[in-house]
Amino acid sequence: MAPKQVIDGRDMMPPEPLELTLGALDDLAEGEELLLLLRGRPYPLYDILRRNGYVHDTRVADDGSVEVRIRKA
Protein backbone atom coordinates (compact mmCIF):
# COMPACT_ATOMS: atom_id res chain seq x y z
CA MET A 1 0.00 0.00 0.00
CA ALA A 2 1.30 3.47 -0.86
CA PRO A 3 1.45 5.56 2.32
CA LYS A 4 -0.78 8.63 2.47
CA GLN A 5 1.96 10.64 4.15
CA VAL A 6 5.70 10.16 4.64
CA ILE A 7 7.61 11.75 7.53
CA ASP A 8 11.36 11.58 7.02
CA GLY A 9 12.77 12.19 10.49
CA ARG A 10 16.29 10.97 9.75
CA ASP A 11 17.75 14.47 9.68
CA MET A 12 15.54 15.92 12.41
CA MET A 13 16.38 16.57 16.04
CA PRO A 14 14.19 14.78 18.61
CA PRO A 15 11.38 15.30 19.40
CA GLU A 16 10.51 16.81 15.99
CA PRO A 17 9.72 13.47 14.26
CA LEU A 18 7.48 12.45 17.17
CA GLU A 19 5.79 15.85 17.15
CA LEU A 20 5.06 15.64 13.41
CA THR A 21 3.85 12.05 13.72
CA LEU A 22 1.41 12.85 16.52
CA GLY A 23 0.08 15.74 14.43
CA ALA A 24 -0.28 13.54 11.35
CA LEU A 25 -2.35 10.94 13.23
CA ASP A 26 -5.20 13.49 13.20
CA ASP A 27 -5.53 13.19 9.42
CA LEU A 28 -5.10 9.43 9.19
CA ALA A 29 -8.36 7.85 8.02
CA GLU A 30 -9.36 4.16 8.20
CA GLY A 31 -7.22 2.12 5.82
CA GLU A 32 -4.66 4.87 5.28
CA GLU A 33 -1.01 4.46 6.17
CA LEU A 34 1.59 6.81 7.61
CA LEU A 35 5.26 6.06 6.88
CA LEU A 36 7.88 7.26 9.35
CA LEU A 37 11.60 7.11 8.52
CA LEU A 38 14.00 7.27 11.50
CA ARG A 39 17.50 6.33 12.62
CA GLY A 40 16.33 4.28 15.62
CA ARG A 41 13.26 2.56 17.03
CA PRO A 42 10.78 5.10 18.51
CA TYR A 43 9.85 3.30 21.75
CA PRO A 44 7.86 6.24 23.25
CA LEU A 45 5.79 6.36 20.05
CA TYR A 46 5.10 2.59 20.16
CA ASP A 47 3.52 2.97 23.59
CA ILE A 48 1.36 5.87 22.43
CA LEU A 49 0.23 3.97 19.30
CA ARG A 50 -0.57 0.78 21.19
CA ARG A 51 -2.66 2.60 23.78
CA ASN A 52 -4.61 4.59 21.22
CA GLY A 53 -5.73 1.97 18.74
CA TYR A 54 -3.02 2.12 16.08
CA VAL A 55 -0.92 -0.73 14.72
CA HIS A 56 2.59 -0.41 13.37
CA ASP A 57 5.04 -2.46 11.41
CA THR A 58 8.74 -1.70 11.87
CA ARG A 59 11.50 -2.75 9.52
CA VAL A 60 15.17 -2.17 10.36
CA ALA A 61 17.62 -1.77 7.48
CA ASP A 62 21.24 -2.96 7.57
CA ASP A 63 22.47 0.57 8.28
CA GLY A 64 20.25 0.72 11.39
CA SER A 65 17.68 3.09 9.90
CA VAL A 66 14.06 2.25 10.61
CA GLU A 67 10.81 2.31 8.63
CA VAL A 68 7.63 2.48 10.73
CA ARG A 69 4.28 2.00 8.93
CA ILE A 70 1.33 3.17 11.04
CA ARG A 71 -2.42 2.66 10.50
CA LYS A 72 -5.59 2.44 12.57
CA ALA A 73 -6.23 -0.98 14.10
Binding site: D11, M13, P14, P15, L18, L22, G23, L25, D26, R39, G40, R41, Y43, P44, Y46, D47, I48, R51, N52, D63, G64
Partner: protein
Amino acid sequence: MQPGLSFEQAPPISVPYRFFLTAPLFGIAAGLFLLWQGPAAIASRWSPLSLALTHLLAVGFMLMAMCGAMLQVLPVAAGANIWRPLLVTRLTHAGLTLGTLLLVAGFLAEWPLLFKLAVAFLTVSLLFFALAVLLALLRTPAVGPTIVSLRIAVVGLFVTVILGATLATAFGWHLSLPLTHLTHVHAAWGLGGWSLLLVAGVGYFVVPMFQLTPSYPAWLSRSYAWALFCLLLAWSLAWLPDPRPQALQTLLACLAALLPLAFAVVTLRLQGRRRRKMVEPTLLFWRLGAGSLIAAMAVLLLQQLLPAVDAYVGTPFVIGTLLIVGVFMPLISGMLYKIMPFLNWLHLQKTGKPGLVVPNIRDMIPEARMFMQFRLHLAALVLLLAAVALPVLVYPAGLALAASCLWLERNLVTGTRNFIRFGEELKAAVARERQPERPAAA
Protein backbone atom coordinates in the same frame (compact mmCIF):
# COMPACT_ATOMS: atom_id res chain seq x y z
CA MET B 1 -2.74 15.99 17.88
CA GLN B 2 -5.22 13.19 18.45
CA PRO B 3 -7.61 13.94 21.30
CA GLY B 4 -6.95 12.00 24.47
CA LEU B 5 -3.80 10.23 23.38
CA SER B 6 -2.53 8.10 26.23
CA PHE B 7 1.11 8.43 27.34
CA GLU B 8 0.94 6.46 30.58
CA GLN B 9 3.72 4.00 29.84
CA ALA B 10 6.56 6.41 30.60
CA PRO B 11 7.68 6.40 34.28
CA PRO B 12 6.56 9.44 36.33
CA ILE B 13 8.78 12.44 35.70
CA SER B 14 9.68 12.52 39.41
CA VAL B 15 11.60 9.23 38.90
CA PRO B 16 14.62 10.69 37.09
CA TYR B 17 14.28 14.30 38.28
CA ARG B 18 14.98 13.59 41.95
CA PHE B 19 18.34 12.06 40.91
CA PHE B 20 19.12 14.88 38.47
CA LEU B 21 18.38 17.60 41.01
CA THR B 22 20.39 15.90 43.78
CA ALA B 23 23.57 15.12 41.79
CA PRO B 24 24.84 18.73 41.36
CA LEU B 25 24.48 19.31 45.11
CA PHE B 26 27.24 16.75 45.70
CA GLY B 27 29.32 18.51 43.02
CA ILE B 28 28.88 21.82 44.89
CA ALA B 29 29.88 20.02 48.10
CA ALA B 30 33.04 18.72 46.37
CA GLY B 31 33.99 22.26 45.28
CA LEU B 32 33.42 23.62 48.79
CA PHE B 33 35.40 20.67 50.19
CA LEU B 34 38.39 21.74 48.05
CA LEU B 35 38.05 25.30 49.35
CA TRP B 36 37.87 24.01 52.92
CA GLN B 37 40.74 21.50 52.81
CA GLY B 38 42.97 23.26 50.27
CA PRO B 39 46.05 21.46 48.89
CA ALA B 40 45.74 18.69 51.51
CA ALA B 41 42.71 17.35 49.60
CA ILE B 42 44.89 16.42 46.62
CA ALA B 43 48.21 15.68 48.34
CA SER B 44 47.95 11.88 48.06
CA ARG B 45 45.61 9.49 46.32
CA TRP B 46 45.47 7.37 49.48
CA SER B 47 44.63 10.09 52.01
CA PRO B 48 41.15 9.96 53.58
CA LEU B 49 40.57 13.53 52.34
CA SER B 50 41.25 12.50 48.75
CA LEU B 51 39.02 9.43 49.08
CA ALA B 52 36.21 11.60 50.51
CA LEU B 53 36.53 14.04 47.58
CA THR B 54 36.59 11.19 45.03
CA HIS B 55 33.41 9.64 46.42
CA LEU B 56 31.56 12.94 46.61
CA LEU B 57 32.04 13.19 42.85
CA ALA B 58 32.06 9.53 41.75
CA VAL B 59 29.07 8.39 43.82
CA GLY B 60 27.28 11.59 44.83
CA PHE B 61 27.42 13.27 41.44
CA MET B 62 28.20 10.64 38.79
CA LEU B 63 26.41 7.56 40.06
CA MET B 64 23.42 9.60 41.23
CA ALA B 65 22.91 11.12 37.78
CA MET B 66 23.69 7.84 36.00
CA CYS B 67 21.09 5.90 38.02
CA GLY B 68 18.42 8.51 37.26
CA ALA B 69 19.28 8.57 33.57
CA MET B 70 19.31 4.77 33.38
CA LEU B 71 15.81 4.52 34.88
CA GLN B 72 14.52 6.94 32.26
CA VAL B 73 16.66 6.00 29.25
CA LEU B 74 15.83 2.29 29.39
CA PRO B 75 12.12 2.64 28.51
CA VAL B 76 12.78 5.37 25.91
CA ALA B 77 15.88 3.94 24.22
CA ALA B 78 15.42 0.23 24.68
CA GLY B 79 11.74 -0.36 25.40
CA ALA B 80 12.89 -1.95 28.68
CA ASN B 81 10.47 -1.31 31.52
CA ILE B 82 11.74 -1.38 35.09
CA TRP B 83 9.84 -3.47 37.65
CA ARG B 84 8.03 -1.08 40.07
CA PRO B 85 10.01 2.02 39.06
CA LEU B 86 8.81 4.14 41.98
CA LEU B 87 9.95 1.59 44.56
CA VAL B 88 13.33 1.17 42.83
CA THR B 89 13.66 4.95 42.61
CA ARG B 90 12.88 5.65 46.27
CA LEU B 91 15.19 2.92 47.54
CA THR B 92 18.07 3.82 45.21
CA HIS B 93 17.84 7.58 45.71
CA ALA B 94 17.59 7.37 49.51
CA GLY B 95 20.33 4.73 49.73
CA LEU B 96 22.69 6.67 47.47
CA THR B 97 22.13 10.01 49.21
CA LEU B 98 22.49 8.74 52.77
CA GLY B 99 25.18 6.19 51.85
CA THR B 100 27.37 8.82 50.16
CA LEU B 101 27.06 11.22 53.10
CA LEU B 102 27.93 8.44 55.57
CA LEU B 103 30.85 7.22 53.47
CA VAL B 104 32.33 10.71 53.14
CA ALA B 105 31.81 11.32 56.86
CA GLY B 106 33.50 7.96 57.51
CA PHE B 107 36.59 8.99 55.55
CA LEU B 108 36.74 12.35 57.31
CA ALA B 109 36.07 11.12 60.86
CA GLU B 110 37.75 7.71 60.38
CA TRP B 111 34.99 6.29 62.57
CA PRO B 112 34.22 2.61 61.81
CA LEU B 113 30.51 2.88 62.61
CA LEU B 114 30.04 5.33 59.72
CA PHE B 115 31.59 2.85 57.27
CA LYS B 116 29.32 0.08 58.60
CA LEU B 117 26.24 2.23 58.04
CA ALA B 118 27.48 3.40 54.61
CA VAL B 119 27.99 -0.23 53.52
CA ALA B 120 24.43 -1.08 54.49
CA PHE B 121 22.83 1.84 52.64
CA LEU B 122 24.98 1.76 49.49
CA THR B 123 25.15 -2.01 49.03
CA VAL B 124 21.46 -2.73 49.53
CA SER B 125 20.25 0.14 47.35
CA LEU B 126 22.78 -0.29 44.52
CA LEU B 127 22.50 -4.07 44.29
CA PHE B 128 18.70 -3.72 44.21
CA PHE B 129 19.01 -1.06 41.49
CA ALA B 130 21.47 -3.13 39.45
CA LEU B 131 19.25 -6.21 39.71
CA ALA B 132 16.11 -4.30 38.62
CA VAL B 133 17.94 -2.73 35.68
CA LEU B 134 19.60 -5.98 34.63
CA LEU B 135 16.24 -7.81 34.65
CA ALA B 136 14.71 -5.07 32.48
CA LEU B 137 17.66 -5.27 30.08
CA LEU B 138 17.47 -9.06 29.87
CA ARG B 139 13.70 -9.05 29.26
CA THR B 140 13.60 -6.43 26.50
CA PRO B 141 13.31 -7.82 22.97
CA ALA B 142 15.49 -4.94 21.71
CA VAL B 143 18.88 -5.84 20.26
CA GLY B 144 21.96 -3.93 19.24
CA PRO B 145 25.19 -2.52 20.67
CA THR B 146 23.46 -0.18 23.14
CA ILE B 147 21.68 -3.07 24.87
CA VAL B 148 24.80 -5.26 24.92
CA SER B 149 26.93 -2.43 26.36
CA LEU B 150 24.37 -1.56 29.02
CA ARG B 151 24.03 -5.20 30.11
CA ILE B 152 27.79 -5.56 30.48
CA ALA B 153 27.99 -2.16 32.21
CA VAL B 154 25.48 -3.30 34.85
CA VAL B 155 27.61 -6.38 35.49
CA GLY B 156 30.50 -3.92 35.93
CA LEU B 157 28.39 -2.03 38.48
CA PHE B 158 27.80 -5.26 40.42
CA VAL B 159 31.57 -5.89 40.56
CA THR B 160 32.26 -2.27 41.60
CA VAL B 161 29.67 -2.34 44.40
CA ILE B 162 30.84 -5.68 45.77
CA LEU B 163 34.49 -4.55 45.78
CA GLY B 164 33.53 -1.19 47.32
CA ALA B 165 31.47 -2.94 49.99
CA THR B 166 34.43 -5.23 50.75
CA LEU B 167 36.73 -2.22 51.17
CA ALA B 168 34.29 -0.31 53.39
CA THR B 169 33.68 -3.49 55.42
CA ALA B 170 37.44 -3.77 55.93
CA PHE B 171 37.48 -0.17 57.24
CA GLY B 172 34.41 -0.74 59.41
CA TRP B 173 35.44 -4.02 60.99
CA HIS B 174 39.26 -3.62 60.76
CA LEU B 175 39.69 -6.67 58.52
CA SER B 176 43.11 -7.53 57.16
CA LEU B 177 42.75 -7.41 53.38
CA PRO B 178 45.04 -6.30 50.54
CA LEU B 179 43.45 -2.85 50.52
CA THR B 180 45.76 -1.26 47.93
CA HIS B 181 45.16 -3.99 45.35
CA LEU B 182 41.42 -4.03 46.01
CA THR B 183 41.25 -0.23 45.65
CA HIS B 184 42.99 -0.36 42.24
CA VAL B 185 40.53 -3.01 41.02
CA HIS B 186 37.50 -1.22 42.54
CA ALA B 187 38.46 2.07 40.82
CA ALA B 188 39.12 0.35 37.48
CA TRP B 189 35.71 -1.34 37.50
CA GLY B 190 33.88 1.78 38.66
CA LEU B 191 35.41 4.06 36.05
CA GLY B 192 35.97 1.50 33.26
CA GLY B 193 33.71 -1.53 33.70
CA TRP B 194 30.67 0.54 34.66
CA SER B 195 31.03 4.23 33.69
CA LEU B 196 32.89 3.97 30.37
CA LEU B 197 30.67 1.13 29.17
CA LEU B 198 27.57 3.11 30.15
CA VAL B 199 28.92 6.10 28.20
CA ALA B 200 29.55 3.88 25.17
CA GLY B 201 26.11 2.26 25.32
CA VAL B 202 24.36 5.62 25.65
CA GLY B 203 26.70 7.20 23.08
CA TYR B 204 25.82 4.66 20.33
CA PHE B 205 22.23 5.80 20.77
CA VAL B 206 22.38 9.54 21.50
CA VAL B 207 25.34 10.82 19.44
CA PRO B 208 23.78 9.88 16.05
CA MET B 209 20.29 10.87 17.25
CA PHE B 210 20.94 14.25 18.90
CA GLN B 211 23.96 15.38 16.91
CA LEU B 212 22.84 13.94 13.55
CA THR B 213 26.07 12.04 12.92
CA PRO B 214 26.57 8.74 11.09
CA SER B 215 26.27 5.64 13.32
CA TYR B 216 29.29 4.27 15.18
CA PRO B 217 31.18 1.77 13.01
CA ALA B 218 30.22 -1.85 13.67
CA TRP B 219 33.86 -2.93 14.29
CA LEU B 220 33.84 -0.68 17.36
CA SER B 221 30.30 -0.93 18.68
CA ARG B 222 30.13 -4.75 18.41
CA SER B 223 33.44 -5.50 20.12
CA TYR B 224 34.17 -2.58 22.47
CA ALA B 225 32.12 -3.62 25.51
CA TRP B 226 33.10 -7.30 25.43
CA ALA B 227 36.77 -6.54 24.82
CA LEU B 228 37.00 -3.96 27.62
CA PHE B 229 35.14 -6.26 30.01
CA CYS B 230 37.42 -9.24 29.26
CA LEU B 231 40.60 -7.17 29.50
CA LEU B 232 39.49 -5.67 32.82
CA LEU B 233 38.65 -9.15 34.14
CA ALA B 234 42.03 -10.57 33.08
CA TRP B 235 43.85 -7.51 34.51
CA SER B 236 41.96 -7.90 37.81
CA LEU B 237 42.76 -11.61 38.08
CA ALA B 238 46.43 -10.83 37.41
CA TRP B 239 46.60 -9.29 40.91
CA LEU B 240 46.01 -12.72 42.49
CA PRO B 241 49.16 -14.81 41.75
CA ASP B 242 52.24 -14.34 43.89
CA PRO B 243 54.55 -13.22 42.32
CA ARG B 244 52.32 -11.00 40.21
CA PRO B 245 52.85 -11.28 36.41
CA GLN B 246 53.72 -7.58 36.03
CA ALA B 247 54.62 -7.67 32.33
CA LEU B 248 51.33 -9.38 31.48
CA GLN B 249 49.37 -6.96 33.65
CA THR B 250 51.05 -3.97 31.98
CA LEU B 251 50.18 -5.38 28.56
CA LEU B 252 46.53 -5.90 29.61
CA ALA B 253 46.30 -2.38 31.03
CA CYS B 254 47.74 -0.88 27.81
CA LEU B 255 45.32 -2.84 25.63
CA ALA B 256 42.42 -1.80 27.89
CA ALA B 257 43.50 1.87 27.66
CA LEU B 258 43.59 1.75 23.85
CA LEU B 259 39.88 0.86 23.64
CA PRO B 260 38.40 4.04 25.23
CA LEU B 261 41.01 6.00 23.27
CA ALA B 262 39.61 4.53 20.04
CA PHE B 263 36.04 5.22 21.20
CA ALA B 264 36.90 8.88 21.88
CA VAL B 265 38.68 9.36 18.53
CA VAL B 266 35.77 7.79 16.63
CA THR B 267 33.29 10.00 18.54
CA LEU B 268 35.17 13.18 17.60
CA ARG B 269 35.41 12.07 13.95
CA LEU B 270 31.67 11.28 13.83
CA GLN B 271 30.87 14.69 15.31
CA GLY B 272 33.02 16.26 12.59
CA ARG B 273 30.71 14.62 10.03
CA ARG B 274 27.42 15.74 11.63
CA ARG B 275 24.77 16.81 9.15
CA ARG B 276 23.88 20.07 10.89
CA LYS B 277 26.99 22.10 11.57
CA MET B 278 25.59 24.12 14.46
CA VAL B 279 27.45 24.30 17.77
CA GLU B 280 25.23 23.67 20.77
CA PRO B 281 26.11 23.04 24.44
CA THR B 282 25.79 19.25 24.41
CA LEU B 283 28.18 19.03 21.46
CA LEU B 284 30.77 21.04 23.42
CA PHE B 285 30.33 18.88 26.53
CA TRP B 286 30.79 15.73 24.41
CA ARG B 287 33.88 17.19 22.72
CA LEU B 288 35.39 18.08 26.10
CA GLY B 289 34.56 14.58 27.35
CA ALA B 290 36.10 12.85 24.33
CA GLY B 291 39.20 15.08 24.41
CA SER B 292 39.70 14.44 28.13
CA LEU B 293 39.26 10.70 27.57
CA ILE B 294 42.06 10.72 24.98
CA ALA B 295 44.28 12.67 27.40
CA ALA B 296 43.41 10.35 30.35
CA MET B 297 44.20 7.21 28.37
CA ALA B 298 47.44 8.74 27.04
CA VAL B 299 48.59 9.47 30.63
CA LEU B 300 47.52 5.95 31.68
CA LEU B 301 49.63 4.46 28.87
CA LEU B 302 52.62 6.61 29.89
CA GLN B 303 52.11 5.52 33.52
CA GLN B 304 52.23 1.87 32.46
CA LEU B 305 55.26 2.25 30.20
CA LEU B 306 57.45 4.88 31.89
CA PRO B 307 58.63 4.27 35.51
CA ALA B 308 59.13 8.02 36.08
CA VAL B 309 55.49 8.78 35.26
CA ASP B 310 54.35 5.85 37.43
CA ALA B 311 56.45 7.08 40.35
CA TYR B 312 55.20 10.71 40.12
CA VAL B 313 52.78 11.29 43.00
CA GLY B 314 50.49 13.50 40.88
CA THR B 315 49.84 10.91 38.14
CA PRO B 316 46.80 9.19 39.75
CA PHE B 317 45.33 12.62 40.50
CA VAL B 318 45.77 13.73 36.86
CA ILE B 319 44.12 10.53 35.55
CA GLY B 320 41.30 10.73 38.10
CA THR B 321 40.66 14.42 37.38
CA LEU B 322 40.68 13.89 33.63
CA LEU B 323 38.21 11.00 33.94
CA ILE B 324 35.83 12.31 36.61
CA VAL B 325 35.91 16.08 36.00
CA GLY B 326 37.00 15.95 32.34
CA VAL B 327 34.99 13.02 30.95
CA PHE B 328 32.05 11.97 33.09
CA MET B 329 30.88 15.26 34.60
CA PRO B 330 30.77 17.07 31.21
CA LEU B 331 29.07 14.11 29.50
CA ILE B 332 26.48 13.94 32.28
CA SER B 333 25.86 17.72 32.10
CA GLY B 334 25.52 17.60 28.32
CA MET B 335 23.13 14.66 28.44
CA LEU B 336 20.99 16.23 31.17
CA TYR B 337 20.53 19.26 28.90
CA LYS B 338 19.06 16.91 26.27
CA ILE B 339 17.17 14.53 28.55
CA MET B 340 15.36 17.09 30.72
CA PRO B 341 13.88 19.26 27.90
CA PHE B 342 12.83 16.09 26.02
CA LEU B 343 11.15 14.59 29.10
CA ASN B 344 9.44 17.91 29.85
CA TRP B 345 8.06 17.94 26.32
CA LEU B 346 7.02 14.26 26.39
CA HIS B 347 5.22 14.54 29.72
CA LEU B 348 3.56 17.87 28.80
CA GLN B 349 1.98 16.11 25.81
CA LYS B 350 -0.22 14.26 28.33
CA THR B 351 -1.71 17.56 29.45
CA GLY B 352 -2.34 19.01 26.00
CA LYS B 353 -5.30 18.60 23.68
CA PRO B 354 -6.00 19.37 20.03
CA GLY B 355 -5.16 22.93 19.12
CA LEU B 356 -2.89 23.50 22.11
CA VAL B 357 0.80 23.59 21.28
CA VAL B 358 3.25 22.29 23.88
CA PRO B 359 6.21 24.70 24.22
CA ASN B 360 9.32 23.92 22.19
CA ILE B 361 12.08 21.99 23.96
CA ARG B 362 14.39 24.98 23.40
CA ASP B 363 12.18 26.98 25.80
CA MET B 364 12.78 24.61 28.73
CA ILE B 365 16.35 25.71 29.71
CA PRO B 366 17.96 28.83 28.19
CA GLU B 367 20.88 27.78 25.99
CA ALA B 368 23.04 30.76 27.02
CA ARG B 369 23.02 29.44 30.60
CA MET B 370 24.17 26.01 29.41
CA PHE B 371 27.11 27.65 27.61
CA MET B 372 27.94 29.53 30.82
CA GLN B 373 28.08 26.29 32.78
CA PHE B 374 30.34 24.79 30.11
CA ARG B 375 32.80 27.68 30.50
CA LEU B 376 32.77 27.35 34.31
CA HIS B 377 33.35 23.62 34.09
CA LEU B 378 36.21 24.00 31.62
CA ALA B 379 37.83 26.49 34.01
CA ALA B 380 37.42 24.03 36.90
CA LEU B 381 39.09 21.24 34.90
CA VAL B 382 42.04 23.37 33.78
CA LEU B 383 42.59 24.76 37.28
CA LEU B 384 42.38 21.33 38.91
CA LEU B 385 44.95 19.90 36.50
CA ALA B 386 47.21 22.92 37.04
CA ALA B 387 46.86 22.44 40.81
CA VAL B 388 48.91 19.23 40.53
CA ALA B 389 51.98 21.37 39.78
CA LEU B 390 50.87 24.47 41.69
CA PRO B 391 48.78 23.30 44.69
CA VAL B 392 47.58 26.79 45.64
CA LEU B 393 45.40 26.72 42.51
CA VAL B 394 43.21 24.21 44.30
CA TYR B 395 41.33 27.19 45.79
CA PRO B 396 40.18 28.79 42.52
CA ALA B 397 39.65 25.24 41.17
CA GLY B 398 37.28 24.46 44.05
CA LEU B 399 35.50 27.75 43.51
CA ALA B 400 35.08 27.05 39.78
CA LEU B 401 33.87 23.48 40.42
CA ALA B 402 31.30 24.67 42.96
CA ALA B 403 30.19 27.44 40.57
CA SER B 404 29.84 25.00 37.65
CA CYS B 405 27.71 22.60 39.70
CA LEU B 406 25.69 25.49 41.15
CA TRP B 407 25.01 26.69 37.59
CA LEU B 408 24.01 23.16 36.57
CA GLU B 409 21.63 22.95 39.53
CA ARG B 410 20.18 26.35 38.67
CA ASN B 411 19.60 25.28 35.07
CA LEU B 412 17.96 22.00 36.10
CA VAL B 413 15.73 23.80 38.61
CA THR B 414 14.73 26.19 35.81
CA GLY B 415 13.86 23.20 33.62
CA THR B 416 11.77 21.66 36.41
CA ARG B 417 10.00 24.95 37.15
CA ASN B 418 9.24 25.43 33.45
CA PHE B 419 7.73 21.94 33.35
CA ILE B 420 5.43 22.87 36.22
CA ARG B 421 4.61 26.32 34.77
CA PHE B 422 3.92 25.08 31.23
CA GLY B 423 1.84 22.23 32.67
CA GLU B 424 -0.30 24.66 34.66
CA GLU B 425 -0.72 26.92 31.61
CA LEU B 426 -1.83 23.97 29.48
CA LYS B 427 -4.27 22.77 32.15
CA ALA B 428 -5.72 26.29 32.46
CA ALA B 429 -6.12 26.51 28.66
CA VAL B 430 -7.87 23.11 28.57
CA ALA B 431 -10.19 24.18 31.42
CA ARG B 432 -11.06 27.45 29.63
CA GLU B 433 -12.03 25.55 26.48
CA ARG B 434 -14.23 23.16 28.46
CA GLN B 435 -16.20 25.95 30.18
CA PRO B 436 -19.67 26.41 28.64
CA GLU B 437 -20.13 29.79 27.01
CA ARG B 438 -22.00 32.23 29.25
CA PRO B 439 -25.22 33.62 27.89
CA ALA B 440 -24.91 37.21 26.76
CA ALA B 441 -26.00 39.79 29.34
CA ALA B 442 -29.57 40.94 28.93
